[in-house]
Amino acid sequence: MSLISFFILAFFALLTALGVLLSKNAVYSALSLLAHFLTIALLYFALSAQFLGIVQVIVYAGAIVVLFLFVIMLIGGATTPAIHEKRPIARVAATVLGALFLLGLMVVLFKGLPLGATPAGAPDAGSVQAVAEPLYTTYLLPFELASVLLLAGMLGGIVLALKERKR
């Protein structure tokens, strides 16, 4: 990935992330989240993880954001009450905490990592075939457990959202 394309993608990723945070309307937040996930998918492609990029588009952009929009439309609370406006102290405190957290992360990043090393990255490193081979051999157990988890999550979602029957 060239530096120019990285900076363009990073700019859009940060812009859409801030859009999720700052939108007054939850629908706009969800649409910003969609754009954010698509930008991250492009970054995955650039990092030679094609399979994960496709999975990102299908699962995050296709399923999760649609589920969010579905719930926002269903419960109708699209415009948020302006309660977070009333507490500027909490907002400032959260921003300061976030800045400190970012500072800590940066310190760890700059102290602990061999910075500047450019990855070799074969172009087909993340193809479906390359990812499937370890997924179905070395990592078969986590893969199967993920399917059990999906089943449990599906049942949990149905039970929680099911309307209570009148006794």
Binding site: A49, Y60, T80, T95, L109, A117
Partner: protein, 101 residues
């Protein structure tokens, strides 16, 4: 010129922080949930970047499993939000204090 892996790690650290601040600042349960998804996604970006750096697929498989877990989490979490809305008719988490004595 190729992008160093550290740039991507810094980007994902910034996105993670934006998500964390979103969890702290916003009071709408749905937006908080979106911020949590953003944090999960930034960690995935870290895993993929490091997998690319070392030419090792384990990070990508970890990210794949994280995506599966995130999908389950969204399904259950949104069901909980729907149950709360049915119970209290609000998505504002300051008004939901059922565990308060």
């Amino acid at each position: 010129m190729m992008t160093p892996t550290s740039f991507i790690l810094i980007l994902s650290a910034i996105i993670f922080t934006i998500g964390a601040v979103g969890v702290l600042v916003r009071r709408n349960a749905l937006i908080i949930f979106m911020s949590v998804e953003m944090m999960l996604n930034s960690v995935n970006l870290t895993l993929v970047a490091v997998a690319n750096q070392w030419g090792n697929l384990t990070g990508q498989i970890f990210a794949f499993i994280v995506i599966a877990v995130a999908a389950v989490e969204v399904a259950v979490g949104l069901a909980i939000i729907i149950a709360i809305v049915r119970h209290k008719d609000t998505t504002n988490i300051d008004e939901v204090h059922l565990l308060k004595g």
